[in-house]
Structures are given as structure tokens and as C-alpha cells.
């Protein structure tokens, strides 16, 4: 068990280094530039709505950049190793496919955690630099964003075990967009009157509901986010990620690399 964990950690650490080497964290520089410019310019341009706009931009950037990283790095984590054939020598070593797969997930999850953490610090720094308070409630939106990103990584990895990295990216983007429209899916009868209720019910249950991870508006307006809601969101994310990673692992294990 201990050996298995240390091998998983080695893969995770290697994945983290690899993603950093791929200049993923360059988006942080871009984020810093956006926040600085927003901090300087938004006051007069927005008629004193700069605090709200700064929070909106900061949280939306975490969500958007994180999702892009999760999709485009996530689909390459496994498929690139297969396409480059660098996976074969790894699997010859005493490293199970499960350790490899989960290690890759953990590595990218850590990259996203660092990314979100640095962005959060950047957002707080901008708020303080513009004379606003460091509102701790923002963390109630940041945490669900991170959970949503982990789910995106899991989906991207699942699809990458089933098809090419390009198609995997297309499928992941599709599912993420559908998940952000989950309210439309639930009320599909109103948009497409002929749709059977059971179909919209199944789709609503199956498609990951990315709306669950969106508390940006609430915290921007200072509305409290009850801890039990965050707990349920955590349970939802953990369960969904576990199922998706399980499916991905099953698919990865069943692949024949001969």
C-alpha cells in the first residue's frame, strides 16, 4: 500500500513538473496583467462598481482558465503518453495502470490547485491594493470552482482513454457546456415541447451539473453560502469524480497496448 502510494506520488510529481514545463502557469502572468489593469482602470469606467467587477473578473478567470487547462492538459495526460509510446517503458516498470492513471490525475489536480491558489492570492492582492477589504467569503466561491475543475480533469481523462486526444477534447468541451446548461436540460420541455419527460430527467441526472459549482454571483453580492451546501457540493463532486475516474481506469486497463 505504502509502495503503491509512493509510486502514485512519483507519477503525480512528475505530471506537475511536466505541466509546469508546458508553461501552463503562464496564464498566471496573463491573470496578473488583467487584474492590474482592471484595478487601475475600472473605478472610473464602471462608475464605482470596481469592487464587484474585480471580483467577477477574478473568479471568472479562475473558472475559465482552469477549465481550459483542465480540458487541454487533461486530454493529453494519458493519450500523449500512448501516442508518443512513452507509456510502454513505464508500464514495464513495477507501476500498475491504476497508479499511473490516478497519479496523472493527482498531478494535474495539484497544478490546478496551485493555479487557483495563486489566482486567489492575486485577487486578494488587487482588492487590497485598490483599497477594498479582503473578503473571506470569496473562498466560498473559489473552493467549488476547484471541485468543478477536478471533475473536468476526470472527464477529460475518461474520454482520452476512449478516443484520440482531439476527439476527447471535443467531447469534454461538449459535456462541460451541457453541464453549464443543466437548468435548460431540466426544463427541456419548455424549449422543445415534444421532449419526453423521462429523457430530460435522465439527461439531467447523467450530465454533470456544473451549475452546482457556481457561487460566484452569490459571494460577489455578499450572500452567505451555507456550509451544508458546500458539503453537499463536495459529496456530489467526490462521487462524480470517483465514478468517472473508475470508468476511465476500467477503460484504460482494458486497452491493449501490444
Amino acid at each position: 500500500m505504502g509502495d503503491s502510494l509512493s509510486r502514485l506520488a512519483a507519477v503525480a510529481a512528475n505530471t506537475f513538473r511536466e505541466t509546469v514545463r508546458e508553461r501552463v502557469l503562464y496564464n498566471l502572468v496573463f491573470f496578473a496583467i488583467i487584474m492590474t489593469l482592471a484595478g487601475l482602470l475600472l473605478g472610473p469606467l464602471s462608475i464605482r462598481q470596481d469592487e464587484k467587477v474585480l471580483k467577477d473578473i477574478g473568479l471568472a478567470a479562475m473558472d475559465l482558465f482552469g477549465t481550459l487547462i483542465a480540458i487541454f492538459i487533461g486530454v493529453g495526460l494519458v493519450s500523449k503518453e500512448i501516442e508518443r509510446r512513452s507509456l510502454y517503458p513505464l508500464l514495464v516498470k513495477p507501476l500498475s495502470r491504476g497508479e499511473f492513471f490516478l497519479g496523472k490525475f493527482t498531478g494535474l489536480a495539484f497544478t490546478l490547485l496551485v493555479n487557483v491558489a495563486v489566482m486567489t492570492v492575486g485577487l486578494y492582492a488587487t482588492l487590497l491594493a485598490t483599497g477594498r477589504s479582503a473578503d473571506p467569503l470569496l473562498l466560498a466561491a473559489v473552493y467549488p470552482i476547484l471541485l468543478g475543475l477536478l471533475l473536468v480533469v476526470a472527464l477529460a481523462m475518461l474520454f482520452s482513454t476512449l478516443t484520440s486526444s482531439t476527439l476527447a477534447a471535443v467531447f469534454t468541451v461538449g459535456v462541460v457546456i451541457a453541464g453549464r446548461f443543466s437548468d435548460v436540460v431540466r426544463n427541456m420541455q419548455e424549449v422543445m415541447p415534444g421532449t419526453p419527460r423521462w429523457l430530460s430527467g435522465i439527461l439531467y441526472a447523467v450530465i454533470p451539473n456544473f451549475r452546482n459549482f457556481d457561487f460566484k454571483d452569490r459571494v460577489t453580492y455578499g450572500d452567505p453560502v451555507p456550509p451544508e451546501v458546500l458539503a453537499w457540493v463536495t459529496v456530489y463532486a467526490a462521487a462524480y469524480i470517483a465514478v468517472v475516474l473508475g470508468l476511465g481506469l476500467a477503460s484504460f486497463r482494458s486497452r491493449d497496448f501490444q
Binding site: 464602471s46 462608475i47 462598481q49 467587477v53 473578473i57 471568472a60 446548461f181 435548460v184 451549475r211 460577489t220
Partner: protein, 287 residues
């Protein structure tokens, strides 16, 4: 060959801005219509940004402010046609963005050249705001103010102020103002109190400047009304109206300025004895 190609490319460089200018000239009359093409209903725009509605609202809010500022500074007709649709999209994306309702209402209600001169639409924007943010006493207060200031509906205004007074955090004076409106039917003093409140509540910026302008307009109107009273007094005492307003000064009955707050001399009609703000003054407003 390479040299001639480079020369040809260099010669083509100024063609780009030149042709762009010609296209812009041609499009001039259609520009507003083209802009409208980019505007859909708020709900449609909302569907384009799942999870990022607040950010999209900020973008539309900034665009609204820029549009209004641009029209005010550079447009010839200043009809602010896109102000209402832009406000509607912004508030559909973020129904709790109070400033958008307040800003939209002020500049939709305000007569040209400062605003669009469509007070009914401004009131509708505020009504929408009170529906979307029912707990905001300020929006309800503004609805009352604007009903009085732009529709001259003292009874409706008083009813809105009464409702505002019942909301959490509401200012204590809302009830007395409502009672005054019902008792007196509204006067310059009520208008002054309203604009003074809007001035005090607004942060530094265009809304505050606007409230300040309105207070100056009221100052000018009040000064003109006082001068009219003095002219009547002089007529009663001396049996004839003063030929010019300067006479009031010479007689020592008026020691203040004979210009309004914008520095434009008051207009004086000898035949009626009425003193008013000159029509060419920025302080002039239809009454």
C-alpha cells in the same frame, strides 16, 4: 523583384486607413442600426454565457457607460437609442446590479441634451429594478423621486416613498417626505430635498455630478422666481415695472447675481414682469 514588391506593399499601407475612412463615411447613417444588430434580448445574451453571466453583465455595463458617454460627447443627435436595450441586457445578465437601474433611469428620464427625454421608460427601468431587487429601499426611493420629478405624480411618488420607508435600512425621512408630497402636492422644496438626497447617496462620479447639476438648476429657478416676486413688489410700490433687472440692484432690493448658476443672465420679460432662466442657458429646463 523583391524590392518592387516591398515598394508595392509600402504603397498599399496607407490604402488601408484611407479605405476604412471611406467605408466609415458610407456607414455613418447606418451605424446605430448596425449596433442594434449586435443586441439581442437579455435572455438570449444570458444563454451565451453559462456560468459567466456576472462577467458578461460587467462587460455590458461598461459598454453602457461608454455608449452613453460617447453619445453625449460625440453624437450629433444624442437620442441615446441604445441606452434602454443596453440597460435591459445588463440587468437581465445581473438582475441585482442596482447601479444599472439607477443610472439608466436618470439618463432616460433627463430631457435632451443631457439625457434621452423618455421619462416613462426611465420609470419602467426602475419598476423592473424594484421587482428584481425587492429589498432595495434606494431603488424604491428613486422610483418615488422620479415619479415626482419627471412625471409630476405627487400621489404615486408618495405611495412609492411610503413603500420604501417599510424596507429594511430605509432612511427615516422617507415617511415625512411622502407626507409632505401628499399635503402640498409637491413644490421646488420637495424637488430640492430629493436631488440633495441623491447627491448625498451617490459616490463621486457622473450620478453625483448630475445631482449637483440638478441642484444648480433648482437654485437658478428659485432665484428667477424670487426676482419675479421682487419685480412685482417694485411695480406695486413705484407704479411701473423696472425696465431692466439691474434696476432692482440700483434700488437695493436685490444684492445677488443677475446670472444663473451657469453664468448666463436671467431672461426678463418687461411686458409680463416674469423673470426666468434663459432658454440658451444650460440651466434651462422645460416646466
Amino acid at each position: 523583384m523583391t524590392r518592387s514588391l516591398a515598394v508595392l506593399l509600402l504603397l498599399l499601407v496607407p490604402v488601408v486607413p484611407w479605405s476604412q475612412r471611406r467605408i466609415d463615411e458610407h456607414a455613418g447613417a447606418y451605424r446605430a442600426q448596425e449596433e442594434v444588430l449586435y443586441l439581442w434580448s437579455g435572455e438570449q445574451v444570458r444563454r451565451l454565457f453559462p456560468g459567466f453571466e456576472a462577467l458578461a453583465a460587467d462587460v455590458y455595463w461598461l459598454r453602457t457607460v461608454q455608449y452613453f458617454g460617447g453619445e453625449r460627447l460625440f453624437s450629433g443627435n444624442r437620442r441615446f437609442e441604445l441606452l434602454r436595450p443596453l440597460i435591459e441586457i445588463t440587468t437581465a445578465l445581473d438582475p441585482r446590479l442596482e447601479i444599472a437601474y439607477r443610472y439608466g433611469a436618470v439618463f432616460l428620464c433627463e430631457p435632451p441634451p443631457s439625457g434621452a427625454g423618455r421619462p416613462r421608460e426611465g420609470i419602467e427601468v426602475l419598476e423592473e429594478g424594484t421587482r428584481n431587487v425587492p429589498g432595495s429601499w434606494r431603488l424604491r426611493q428613486d422610483l418615488g423621486f422620479f415619479r415626482f420629478l419627471y412625471l409630476h405624480d405627487a400621489r404615486g411618488a408618495a405611495a412609492e416613498l411610503e413603500k420604501a420607508a417599510t424596507l429594511p435600512g430605509a432612511a427615516f425621512w422617507l415617511r415625512t417626505l411622502a407626507a409632505d408630497l401628499l399635503a402640498k402636492g409637491g413644490d421646488l422644496e420637495a424637488s430640492r430635498r430629493m436631488w440633495q438626497q441623491m447627491y448625498d447617496q451617490a459616490e463621486e462620479g457622473i450620478l453625483r455630478t448630475h445631482a449637483e447639476e440638478q441642484l444648480s438648476i433648482l437654485d437658478s429657478r428659485e432665484a428667477a422666481e424670487r426676482l419675479t416676486v421682487l419685480v412685482a413688489d417694485v411695480e406695486q410700490r413705484r407704479g411701473r415695472r423696472p425696465e431692466q433687472l439691474e434696476e432692482l440692484r440700483r434700488l437695493g432690493v436685490w444684492l445677488g447675481s443677475l446670472e444663473d448658476r451657469a453664468g448666463v443672465p436671467f431672461s426678463y420679460d418687461v411686458s409680463t414682469g416674469k423673470v426666468s432662466v434663459a432658454r440658451d442657458s444650460p440651466m434651462w429646463r422645460p416646466q
